[in-house]
Amino acid sequence: PICPNGSNSCQVSLGDLFDRAVRLSHYIHSLSSEMFNEFDERYAQGRGFIAKAINSCHTSSLTTPEDKEQAQQIHHEDLLNVVLSVLRSWNDPLLHLVSEVQRIKEAPDTILWKAMEIEEQNKRLLEGMEKIVGRVHPGDLGNEVYSTWSGLPSLQLADEDSRLFAFYNLLHCFRRDSHKIDNYLKLLKCRLIHDSNC
């Protein structure tokens, strides 16, 4: 039974919070990879989109660890805030992605379902991260730093090639950022819960 001695100590343990967050971030990254691959195969073959997608993520202004050494040197509070910032930066674009995907010609239901599922689960993960940050350093809900997104007009362009590139770029960037979030959370979980001995 949970909470054997009543409500004063009754909360989800930090270990369980991280367990659920990592499971969710893994799931979200899997979905985003599938969605990107599906879109890439169906709409991007031979269009050279990858070359144009360089330096084009709205979150590239956020400083994030780019290799193992950086990720292990950063203080865990800062890494938690990085995760929060990246997650918050995707609330707005994911919301618009769901509505705009429906306007893509013959967009398969699987891409639409994934976009809706990702938007839902990303909100859920953000709720969990705010809970974790509140638990790890109480009183500080993490700096409200995040990157604003101004890509909606490009998702609605009349020219199909430009519009498809805008979708490609958004999915490419989200696949990357969801992979970062998943990786950072697994590092944090091992560091904070398993004393770096996973």
């Binding site: 909470c3 409500s7 919070l17 499971r23 799931y27 979905l31 839902e120």
Partner: protein
């Protein structure tokens, strides 16, 4: 005449897929008077009380929490209050962590196929996760357990399978009719009900390798 209502009691909560959940209570005596029930809950570290969002979907004496009202990040502390003209009575607090009340629906499409190999023929059992379970990549990781018995015998033989959705069963007796079922659980929750039964007759003449 009549009495104040007896003390109701929260009895069970269940989530099929860690995204929604339902709780049930057992009413106390209604004191011979029309009695109504109110379920109130707070979430961890929150002062404010919320009322049950949906008394209908889960059937009588129940409260259904849809996705919007379901959080895996917090513990729910809930009580149910019975009220009639002569007074009211409140259940003892009941704590719920959604991750620990997951009881999936049973797996479906259990198929049994005989694979005759020169060396070791076997029965290949295959099944599919329950619908609506977002299991593909781990948000809800399901483990499976099989049970099988000769049709004429009462005793089941249970086989824990783990994550896979297929199983090879060697050493079955030729000519015998077998019955099989499968169930699943989320790694922290309750076992689902058993799936419906599947039947299979092992061929008579296959050569049993010594």
């Amino acid at each position: 005449n009549g009495q104040p209502p007896g003390k109701p009691e929260m009895i069970r909560c269940r989530s099929p897929e860690k995204e929604t959940f339902t709780c049930w209570w057992k009413p106390g005596s209604d004191g011979g008077l029309p009695t109504n029930y109110t379920l109130l809950y707070t979430k961890e570290r929150e002062e404010s009380y919320h009322e049950c969002p949906d008394y209908v979907t889960g059937g009588p004496n129940s409260c259904y929490f849809d996705q919007k009202h379901t959080s895996v990040w917090t513990i729910y502390n809930m009580t149910v209050k019975a009220t009639n003209a002569l007074g009211s009575n409140i259940s003892t607090p009941y704590y719920v962590d959604v991750a620990y009340i997951v009881e999936p629906n049973p797996p479906v499409n259990l198929t049994l196929e005989w694979v005759g190999q020169a060396y070791a023929s076997y029965l290949l059992l295959k099944w599919v996760p329950p619908p609506r379970a977002d299991v593909r990549s781990g948000w809800l990781t399901l483990e499976y357990e099989l049970r099988i018995r000769p049709k004429e015998e009462p005793e089941w033989d249970n086989i824990f399978v783990g994550l896979g959705t297929k199983y090879q069963l060697f050493r079955l007796n030729p000519g015998i009719k077998y019955v099989a079922q499968v169930r699943c659980r989320s790694d922290r929750g309750e076992w689902s009900q058993w799936s419906s039964e599947s039947h299979f007759q092992v061929p008579k003449e296959f050569k049993l390798k010594d």
